[in-house]
């Protein structure tokens, strides 16, 4: 049954440009894809390793600028720029990872926000490098193996590949010894250490992977919009990613995907009906409501509801709703 659903989904995804005619809708799907990568990456750090990092837009932005600068100023090929973007963000992530170990809880949150703030200020003020508030227009189109990804339909496939890669990376990591180490650190760090899990190392792995994926998303964004400006560092983007992860379900694999699609599609759908400022007010209200009523997010809540319909097995104590182990 599952295989059938997955197969249908894959078929739909692969043929999307054929049945989704409007370029605007394809644009929305592309943005959803980019945000899927961002949400999945944030989920690694926030949901699995349990580190509330609120500077994620910094990794996105570093990736975008790195890719844009290398392809625009140094004529690097697209793929090399993408890899460099991931590497640059990954390096920043490594720094954050080391920091996460020294500085905890609310202070870590503040440090990540400050880090993003400083990077943002640098991008606005370092005119020679980043061209300041005007940004970098004319970023070259993505080109792979001779194919130029200029049209929306073509770019859709590129983003689809990127999103698939991100989900695959997260899935592999999470369902492994590494993923267990992340969870252990989130659940009970002293206990994790006592069985040989090195917190410094694993926090770094989580942070680097998370940042590198976000950097890749940044590169994809840069070559899609063909213009990179300091607005990529906006705190709004970070907040959006956090909402996607938290609403979708942090610490689950499907959660960020659901969250990304929902919170990309919803504002676009509401755009006709509701003014942008009201949307943002709604975002805030939604976040508050989520924390109160759906603290675990949509995916676990749906999962628990489905499970509640099945009778509990005899002789075994009932589990907490939504407390199903994320491991196989």
């Amino acid at each position: 049954m599952r295989l059938l659903v997955a197969g249908l989904g894959a078929a739909a995804a692969l043929t999307l440009p054929l049945w989704l005619q409007s370029p605007y809708h394809v644009h929305v799907v592309i943005m959803a894809g980019i945000f899927t990568i961002l949400a999945c990456s944030l989920n690694l750090l926030l949901g699995y390793a349990g580190q509330l990092s609120l500077g994620h837009a910094a990794f996105f932005g570093i990736g975008a600028y790195t890719s844009a600068l290398l392809t625009l100023r140094l004529q690097w090929p697209f793929l090399a720029g993408l890899v460099a973007a991931a590497a640059a963000s990954g390096l920043a992530g490594w720094g954050i990872g080391r920091l996460a170990f020294k500085v905890r809880g609310a202070y870590f949150v503040l440090v990540t926000i400050s880090f993003a703030g400083v990077i943002s200020l640098v991008s606005v003020n370092w005119m020679e490098l980043t061209n300041g508030p005007l940004g970098l227009p004319g970023v070259p189109a993505a080109e792979l193996f001779g194919v130029s990804f200029r049209t929306k339909s073509a770019y859709y496939y590129l983003v689809l590949a990127g999103a698939a890669l991100a989900v695959l990376v997260c899935r592999r990591l999470v369902r492994s010894r590494t993923g267990r180490a992340f969870l252990a650190l989130r659940e009970n760090e002293p206990l994790a250490e006592s069985v040989g899990i090195d917190a410094v190392h694993y926090l770094a792995v989580a942070a680097v992977t998370s940042a590198a994926l976000a950097g890749m998303a940044g590169s994809l964004y840069a070559h899609y919009t063909r213009l990179v400006s300091p607005e990529v560092f906006l705190f709004t983007y970070t907040v959006t990613m956090v909402i996607m992860v938290v609403a979708g379900g942090k610490g689950t694999l499907a959660g960020p995907v659901v969250g990304a699609v929902l919170f990309t599609a919803l504002p676009e759908a509401l755009r006709e009906v509701v003014a942008w400022q009201w949307q943002m007010v709604l975002y805030g209200v939604v976040l508050i409501l989520l924390v109160f009523f759906l603290p675990r997010g949509i995916v676990p809540a749906v999962g628990a509801a489905l499970r509640a319909r099945m009778a509990p097995r005899a002789g075994e104590p009932r589990l907490e709703p939504g407390a199903r182990s994320p491991l196989p």
Partner: protein, 263 residues
Amino acid sequence: MTLAVRDLAVRFGGVEALGGVTFEVRPDTITSLIGPNGAGKTTAFNAITGYLRPTRGTVSWDGQAIAGLRPSQIAARGVVRTFQKTSVFPSLAVLDNVLIGLHLRGRAGWASVLLGRGWVRREERALAAEAEALIEFVGLAARRRDVAGALPYGEQRLVELAVALAARPRILLLDEPAAGMTAPEKEAVSRLIRKIREQGVTVFVVEHDMRLVMGISDTVIVLNGGRVIAEGPPSRVQADPEVVRAYLGSTGGAPRGPAPGRC
């Protein structure tokens, strides 16, 4: 494979929680560390296992100095401890708790995992099998899929034990394993500790329950005011006048009564 502690001291601000203790835990024994509250027992555990930095002194395990290493590095050398407060991975299932405990038994790093190497899958299957065996060993087979945080207290402590054993300790430091347990649960714990020793693991226990301690220990070390005041087989330590004085001073009774949950 001896755990040797020499002149170990820990100072917090102005207070010396541990004032230069020296003792040895010999291989293949069950050694207990007892003493009135505040004597420094958990501090000693924390200093030995890397959760506290000693102000002075050395800790050597199997001939190598381990003081100042990170807890995960010390655990990697076979020195594993449990915690005074119940310590499990609360929102994960018992099976996953133990799988995490088996961390050191695996070799798959993030690179091998991402590349999807074949041997990683084989390793996962082997680890899953080991986890099942460990759960059987502590008697929690019926609870495999239950969320650890939702289990009753006594069973959570069994999960703790399974997790610690999963890390393949050569010496196991148990911090008050019987605290808050009923008499039959304590019996079960005593039996388990003996079974663990039979497997070739040295056991170093901090406990308050004297009957349990005197019943299972080969050696008893007594701490008071941050210093060792007696060391030897249970019968000798029980009769030691300084030990009696230490306990009379704090609780008004010689260290022989069962009185669970005292101190």
